[in-house]
């Protein structure tokens, strides 16, 4: 790509007005002040020729390529995708034409040329079991690759729940010893963009923020950008009024489900899930899981695979009554034992009772 972004966009038929609108939307979505939209537009529009585009290296580890799928699906023709033209995606196994040694060369060339300045995106978890033998690229374990590439990175974006929290590979019993990026890298700024997969806009939003301000956006204590992960699905859900009225769908095809009532009883994890699905939605704002009739799985939360069942209501406990009979039996035995003990004490006291006579008192 030659020339500044605004020229490239113009060539692709995107007007200046559309571009400004896009920046303003991104800024408002991230709860930045109105002036930030302009700042973003300026920063991105003045992103000069290809040589100066910030380099981005994307490392895939134990992943399913769903995160990459998610990003590409939003690609053309939406504007989010064009953000990729602002950056120089120097290494992305799925998307790059090169393979084998060529790909490795591209990676090392990018690392060398942009030492200390490139942005590292990771998707997938890192296996620690068997010295990392569970997942290797170019003869190197994921752990080695991550440490090597992270060394020269300006910041790291952990894309998807696997990179952010370990995700599916880390699900009980975690056979590969999978861990998250933050478990391995301690000395670099890391932003987690969890989700299975994450929302494309969230990723482009974080990138835009990084390009504009040269820093990562404000993060919550799990390292997620607050702008997108600040509120629960439940709080922003359009079905929330039904929850408050106590109107719940009981099965996926009953009257309540058809009327669009709350999916809480069907296992929706919306109340404990922080993500932007309810507001940003998916597929260019078409719909999102709850709108399509399925409860939230809680995919942007740590260990959501082991959260106790996708179709179990949040208020529904695992199975506390499984031990009820035993507990009652133990209680009965203890009660009877204590009763006998008390009776024993009583009769002991009775038999130890000495009658006091007048003669005793006069002694």
């Amino acid at each position: 790509m030659q020339g500044s972004l605004i020229e490239t966009l113009a060539r692709q038929g995107v007007t200046r007005r559309t571009f400004m609108k896009y920046c303003a939307t991104l800024a408002s979505m991230m709860a930045l002040p109105p002036s930030a939209g302009r700042a973003m537009a300026e920063a991105m529009a003045s992103a000069p020729a290809a040589s100066k585009r910030p380099s981005v290296i994307w490392l895939p580890f134990q992943e399913c390529t769903g995160c990459t799928e998610s990003i590409t699906r939003s690609h053309s023709p939406t504007l989010e995708g064009l953000i990729f033209d602002v950056i120089s995606l120097d290494y992305q196994e799925t998307l790059m034409a090169a393979a084998g040694h060529q790909a490795e060369e591209a990676l090392h060339a990018a690392m060398k040329a942009n030492e200390g300045k490139y942005l590292l995106i990771v998707d997938g978890s890192i296996p620690l079991g068997l010295d990392g033998a569970y997942s290797c690229i170019a003869g190197k374990s994921n752990l080695e690759s991550l440490k090597e590439v992270a060394k020269g990175a300006a910041a790291i974006v952990a894309m998807g729940s696997c990179a952010a929290f370990g995700g599916l590979p880390k699900a009980n019993p975690n056979p590969t010893g999978a861990v998250s990026v933050a478990d391995v890298i301690k000395d670099k700024p890391i932003v987690n963009i969890p989700g299975c997969p994450p929302i494309p806009t969230v990723m482009t939003g974080v990138l835009a923020h990084f390009l504009t301000f040269g820093s990562l956006p404000e993060l919550d204590k799990l390292g997620r950008p607050k702008a997108f992960y600040g509120e629960t699905i439940h709080d922003r859900c359009y079905r929330r009024p039904f929850y408050d009225q106590g109107k719940f769908a009981k099965t996926f095809d009953d009257e309540g489900a058809r009327k669009g009532w709350c999916l809480f009883e069907l296992g929706c994890k919306g109340p404990v899930t922080y993500n932007a699905c309810a507001t940003v939605k998916w597929n260019g704002g078409t719909s999102w899981p709850v709108e399509s009739g399925h409860g939230c799985l809680g995919c942007s939360e740590p260990d959501f695979w082991d959260g106790g069942g996708f179709y179990k209501a949040l208020s529904m406990p695992a199975n506390p009554l499984k031990m009820a009979a035993k507990a009652a039996a133990v209680g009965a035995v203890a009660g009877v034992a204590v009763s006998f003990f008390n009776r024993g004490k009583k009769s002991a006291a009775k038999s130890a009772h000495e009658t006091t006579t007048l003669a005793d008192l006069e002694k």
């Binding site: 799990l222 629960t232 439940h234 709080d235 929850y243 408050d244 009225q245 106590g246 719940f248 809480f264 009883e265 109340p271 404990v272 922080y274 809680g298 939360e301 740590p302 260990d303 959501f304 082991d306 959260g307 106790g308 209501a313 949040l314 208020s315 529904m316 406990p317 695992a318 199975n319 506390p320 009554l321 499984k322 031990m323 009820a324 035993k326 507990a327 009652a328 133990v330 209680g331 009965a332 203890a334 009660g335 009877v336 204590v338 009763s339 008390n342 009776r343």
Partner: protein, 219 residues
């Protein structure tokens, strides 16, 4: 342990343990208390007409004449928070759902806004009765650690539940976990503290009524 893990634990193993201890404790204590028995009253019965035991169960739910005026906080505050607790515990939709999932029994709930109001009123009443207990010298003198402790373990589930619903203080997930944890503490200590009156209340009233009836006290 992150908050989802904490929530999973309190909903899983934590609740298993708490419910088991609760059931065990309740059955143990009921056996223990009712097996103590009473000495046979050898005196001739001056039995007054009527089922004095059953009458007393009902009558002790009503304040004796003039007592509401004399001790308004105890009666009004006490009624308010007991009824409020019943509403919050048994008529809040997620709670009914929990009971239905455990036992198969269910009944219609109240709108969450109303339950929210009931929770606030309950907490206010509980704070007032606590303040009264601290302020009145006699009540304070009669209070032991058991009273302060049981007040706290009763108050905390209401407070944390309300904070969770209102999304105050802590993130919802954490607050929900803390709420369930508080309920579990309540379940565990209930059989072994003064809170056991929830089970023994009517039995003791019946006993008292029966004994009084035997002695010829009008019911």
């Amino acid at each position: 342990m992150n908050e989802i893990q904490l929530l999973t634990w309190v909903r899983g193993s934590g609740l298993d343990i708490a419910v088991s201890i609760f059931l065990m404790g309740v059955i143990w204590r009921l056996f223990e208390i009712y097996s103590l028995g009473r000495k046979k009253d050898l005196s001739a019965s001056r039995c007054v007409a009527g089922a004095s035991g059953w009458h007393t169960i009902f009558r002790r739910s009503l304040p004796p004449q003039g007592m509401v005026k004399k001790s308004p906080v105890s009666y009004i505050g006490g009624y308010t928070f007991h009824i409020g607790l019943a509403i919050v515990v048994f008529l809040f939709a997620p709670h009914i759902l929990l009971i239905r999932n455990l036992t198969g029994l269910s009944w219609p709930g109240l709108p969450s806004q109303f339950v929210d109001l009931a929770a606030v009123v309950t907490m206010a009443a509980m704070v007032v009765v606590l303040a009264d207990r601290i302020n009145k010298p006699v009540k304070r003198y009669l209070s032991t650690f058991g009273d302060w402790f049981t007040w706290t373990v009763t108050f905390l589930p209401v407070l944390t539940g309300w904070l969770a619903v209102r999304h105050l203080l802590l993130p919802y997930t954490t607050m929900l976990a803390v709420h369930i944890l508080c309920v579990e503490v309540l379940l565990v200590v209930l059989p072994f503290t003064k809170l056991f009156h929830a089970f023994t209340l009517f039995g003791s009233r019946w006993f008292n009524g029966q004994v009084n009836g035997h002695k010829g006290v009008a019911v």
